[in-house]
Symmetry: C2
């Protein structure tokens, strides 16, 4: 059984939302692989690379918004540029890891629902009540979720996952590691396909 | 006759080197278009966006080198990571504009030769003697070239072109403008193809 593909992402990253639409299908079709979803806090990684969110960069920020709108139209995925952007994604990421320990399939369903709640409805997925509501939509007890994501263990889990991502060389979102090969950006899914198909070059 | 595609680039940008291998063919095949090559000084644009060269960004710099090596192998283009990198590309860019006024075809040949001299032989294309030698390889008088790129007019031309690029919204290299539509990165050539074919979406 080949190793799963690691899919690192921040819940408030538009390019991660786009990549999330297809990475599982690509991994399965081109490599018979599973995908391990690994939310992390991009803001923490950006401190290491001394980077700023796209929106805070003059000229580049405006282009990015244009590009997200265009990409969403191209992919025909639900999309409305959130008014609050970017946001912290701590609550969503903690909830993901807590659900993941119970049921990985539900965790992915939860992640998809977080992405679309934020990027098509503008809901604040850093709000614990919102996240609990999203949890309940995928069959998770909302009260349990709220209680558990306030727990020290799950906070530590997200801190550790974020640090592990940075240690693995992750600096952007989305970011993929296929065996030991790194791919940054939703723009690189074509390359991941070929890498999986050919075994690399 | 449709408008040419504007291809903005810095001569010391690896992704521009990769894009330069195919943008003319893509423009012709998918849109019956010409390509207007527009070298500019990326460092000046980066001051506007408060960005740093990739190589100066921890973690991201290392990934970039890996990605350039991988991309060159994939594309099967001559490639050797230059020891001096990045470099200023003022001499090459000035020479390009001077040659372009005389003969646009020769200017493109000169640009291709600059890219490969830098990215496969490691020659410093900010050195006027090197640039003059490259000029002579594409049928331009090297002495004339050296004399003319020291002229105030050509210096001003490059300053103006760089400012015009920034004013047009260019912040990275390569950068393409198709009619009024902007595309950043060699990763977006697939999208330019579809845009040309469909007229946009």
């Amino acid at each position: 059984m080949p190793k799963p593909i690691d899919f690192y992402f921040d819940f408030s990253s538009p390019y991660a939302y786009f990549a999330a639409q297809k990475i599982d299908d690509v991994a399965l079709e081109f490599g018979g692989r599973e995908v391990e979803w690994r939310p992390f806090l991009l803001g923490v990684a950006m401190k290491e690379t001394k980077n700023e969110p796209l929106m805070h960069q003059p000229i580049k920020g405006e282009y990015s918004v244009h590009d997200w709108n265009r990409m969403a139209r191209f992919m025909k995925v639900p999309w409305k540029m959130p008014v609050q952007f970017p946001i912290a994604s701590i609550a969503a990421a903690r909830a993901f890891y807590w659900i993941s320990d119970i049921d990985k399939t539900k965790a992915k369903a939860f992640a998809h629902q977080c992405f679309s709640s934020y990027f098509s409805e503008g809901l604040n997925i850093n709000n614990v009540d919102t996240v609990a509501e999203i949890g309940s939509q995928v069959g998770i007890d909302g009260c349990e979720l709220k209680k558990n994501i306030a727990d020290g263990l799950i906070k530590e889990k997200l801190r550790n996952e974020t640090q592990a991502a940075i240690d693995a060389g992750v600096f952007g979102s989305p970011f993929f590691i296929v065996d030991d090969e790194k791919f940054w950006g939703s723009d690189r899914i074509w390359m991941i396909k070929r890498w999986l198909k050919t075994g690399g070059w």
